[in-house]
Symmetry: C2
Subunit: 158 residues, 2 copies
Amino acid sequence: MNPIKYKPIGIIHSPFPEPKGIPRQAIGAPEITAKIEIFDEYLEGLTDLEGFSHIVVIFHLHLVNKSSLMASPPWDNREHGVFATRSPHRPNPIGISVVRLENIDRNILNISGVDMVDGTPVLDVKPYIPTLNPTEGIRTGWLQGKTEGMNKSKSGDR
Amino acid sequence: MNPIKYKPIGIIHSPFPEPKGIPRQAIGAPEITAKIEIFDEYLEGLTDLEGFSHIVVIFHLHLVNKSSLMASPPWDNREHGVFATRSPHRPNPIGISVVRLENIDRNILNISGVDMVDGTPVLDVKPYIPTLNPTEGIRTGWLQGKTEGMNKSKSGDR
């Protein structure tokens, strides 16, 4: 299949110059604020977004320079297939975070609960709609019982 | 910024040859089954994925050939900025669905709750981890009170 090409719609300005020390998941860092700068040509697309308390941010993990099919997440002492983890070292380094949208100042989205490094290219923003999430019959495999620590830990803790 | 290139890791085999008639959201179609064929070179990355009841599928909306900064979703009679909607006609046509993982047969993920068209390229698969979702202080803007119909409607209903 042909490669798929995307063009960033914006860029993240965050307090993290490098991956080390970044919260491992956005929900574990409600106090961390950042800005998403949406490029001017996409400004109109933000219309009515401010009514949503949370947004889904899809971004390119631009500092990832290797991928591996097996990953060793910090919440376990075993390797798992990369698709069974949230490791950034994926065949396609795409990140997804749900963050709180504090407000919008023209083309700047002020957000909190952030796990992205400064300079991260943004590919898409979608409204967060909780009714789209399944709630019944959830199983979380090897992560079962391990997610409490996950929400609080930071990269480099291990 | 430079374009970002991704290579599909797999392809979706679904009962929908075209967008018309597809459930508008995966959660509204629990009875629809499909297969994700993961290409052989990524097989090892599926290790331990079967323990998860649901997966997040990131895919390329390959049939979308135009984008628009304003969108007219069927649940409202007004236009909204595309980033405040789930319209497929986005600057970067990236789709995200949470689907049920029924089982895995070598490189085939049997899934249910499907809103993707047959032949859709898959960019990434991640485990669905409900504790990563925010649950408090949620506002859904223009969609408030309209999501009930959303989960049940199909493309082309309007």
